[in-house]
Symmetry: C2
Subunit: 391 residues, 2 copies
């Protein structure tokens, strides 16, 4: 379908490598991503910059990334501010930029995700990354996001009675797809037997059930189609639907901790706004923070019945050739999980798919992509529907 003037479109994308980037600072990571996105967008200059970041003030002792990054990215004076919803921060930045442009109040906005946390001042990333849980009632008791997910997976295994080995497909697919992503942290294929042999991290999770925490930055430039440069030739990606929903933060406050309610509601609203049904979705970039997150995201969205999500990796559904390709460029598991930046990486990767630039991971004829940022154990969910349009 052709773009209309008022379409809110992603006109440029940029990303850095994901990994333990000890030789690059927080600001340099972000600036590289912003510059790449601006170049990709044909030189459009953002007036407004939303920065998704979780740990800047904690890990790098740097607050007010808005002023810092606008200056360092050559955008002095621009409206820059940080937005934060823990590891869903990148999704929030995307939503804020979308809202600013869709409302007509801003012509060109940037959504930036940046995280720099693997070598930090006076602390360690594990102790910092638990700040997405309830500090007074969960983290203070020693709970961690991965620990909570492991408890939930124990329960999920008990309720649904299947062998843990059936989950191997989730990391196997992610790693297979990451081979085609030059920015991925672990672009190496693994076999199911690697999964089975790898050591336990926390029962019942093994090494390959948990996405690696990482540094990285990604950026997208958002505008209305009518404002694109005349010579803009690339396929357009429209932000067709957007939704942010919160759930109770603490797991013990939820009636049904095995159902990600915020994820479910946000998918429903984003699809409604976009006018699409789940059957229209050509691929799903979920937040596979752990295998449990991947499984429950599939069920929350409605791609599987309750208790059936675990089957979608082993039955081929999530393969690039399946009905619902997922983690198409590695997902959190193999691209790496740069926390507050992850949501913008998802947007960049979805754009590559919709533009037909995903190389060996290309999903044929992809028109609609669903991307979802989750915080902690699903306490915040930000979901977007992106659509390919011809310019």
């Amino acid at each position: 379908m052709n773009a209309t003037k008022q379409d809110v479109v992603i006109a440029g994308i940029g990303q850095t490598d994901v990994g333990e980037l000890w030789d690059v600072s927080l600001r340099d990571l972000a600036v590289r991503a912003i510059q790449a996105a601006r170049q990709d967008a044909g030189g459009l200059v953002p007036q407004t910059v939303y920065i998704g970041n979780m740990l800047g003030a904690s890990a790098s002792h740097q607050a007010n990334l808005g002023a810092l990054l606008c200056e360092w990215a050559g955008l002095k004076g621009a409206e820059g501010t940080t937005v934060e919803a823990a590891d869903a921060s990148g999704g929030v930045a995307l939503r804020m930029a979308y809202m600013a442009v869709a409302s007509g109040m801003v012509d060109v906005a940037a959504a930036v995700g940046v995280e720099k946390a693997t070598d930090v001042l006076g602390s360690d990333i594990e102790s910092l990354s638990v700040r997405n849980l309830d500090a007074d009632f969960e983290a203070s008791e020693g709970q961690t996001p991965v620990g909570q997910a492991a408890l939930l997976m124990q329960r999920y295994l008990y309720e649904n009675q299947f062998p843990r080995e059936a989950l191997a497909g989730f990391p196997v697919i992610a790693h297979a797809n990451a081979v085609n992503n030059p920015h991925a942290m672990y672009p190496k294929a693994i076999k199911a037997e690697n999964y089975l042999k790898s050591g336990t991290v926390i029962e019942p999770f093994n090494l390959y059930d948990v996405a690696p925490l990482a540094d990285g930055a990604a950026a997208v430039i958002i505008t209305r189609a009518e404002l694109l440069p005349k010579n803009f030739a690339r396929p357009l990606v429209r932000v067709a639907g957007s939704s942010l929903v919160t759930d109770r933060l603490a797991l013990h406050d939820r009636q049904d901790p095995l159902f990600f309610e915020a994820a479910a509601v946000s998918v429903r609203r984003a699809c409604l706004k976009a006018g699409v049904s789940l059957a229209d979705v050509d691929f799903f970039e979920y937040s596979d923070i752990t295998t449990l997150h991947a499984v429950l995201s599939l069920e929350a969205a409605g791609f599987a019945q309750r208790g059936q999500g675990w089957k979608l990796a082993s039955d081929g559904t999530l393969l690039l050739t399946g009905a619902l390709p997922a983690a198409t460029l590695g997902g959190h598991k193999a691209r790496g999980n740069p926390l507050g930046a992850a949501g913008v990486y998802q947007a960049v990767e979805a754009c590559l798919q919709l533009r037909g630039e995903a190389g060996g991971s290309q999903v044929p004829h992809a028109r609609f992509g669903l991307i979802q940022s989750l915080a902690g154990t699903g306490s915040t969910a930000v979901t977007h529907v992106l659509e390919r349009r011809d310019s």
Copy 2:
């Protein structure tokens, strides 16, 4: 002037006391402010909550305040997210809520400012509050926001050749006005001789030149006039203008560190949007983080020529009976400076003025109020024009 349907109005306000509130948690502070604002707004229920906060993740080890506070304030499922631009965070929350409602994308939004930092985990507020400077090039060298302001004040005194004693009026006015604010941290009048006798904090600042860091929470409910309950009888406060501008973060990168450029541009844009000139402004809630901030804010806004701002306290201009009352309910100096919450306190106080509810600090016939949040040494400035409308 009567309100029109599309006016973006502040329908409810709430605030907690400001001070060292060691017996109240971060979440409880915020919830009290939100509940008070909802009650004041006749029960309007916000769909979207923007939380201005600087140090939650650092001081309380709590990220994702969006999910936490929506749940604890009885708004489970609402769109909640943190926005951060250091000590200007409260102003950012106000602007985001304004944009969401003005765009028509949201009907009812809350802007919340909360800071809880005077008793913190494993650190102290002084080491945390420097995170609004450049971490790599300023804070790492031992610079602090107050230290930078003191250096600038030395230069300002040298360039403009006046006795430091002439600055006494700034804290004297703030403290005199705070007597009428039941929520103020220091609601006690001081005399110029107190100022002169108080000990030096950092040359040339004495105790009364520096606003005390504090805990506190404030909230406002924003909607369009057409959506107000039928029986809404209170005078309306319209958000008439709004602007967020950044400057270079590090002081040494600015061409003229004695001019707050972001503050100047944001005042100009907010007034332009509101269709008012400086002469229309009935009072100014500035960010008197230090006396230097007060002086340079007056000059940046254009209320005084360069090098002349220091005169406005001693010549009576800033008194409640003067041409431009300032810090009318105590300002940062005497209300207290709750960092990321301060900008929402300013909005609450301006609403009290515009509604005629400011008691002994009432500015007669106030119609237009200018409020301004600053981060650090002016690296981010968020300015709003609020206007009284008859409902």
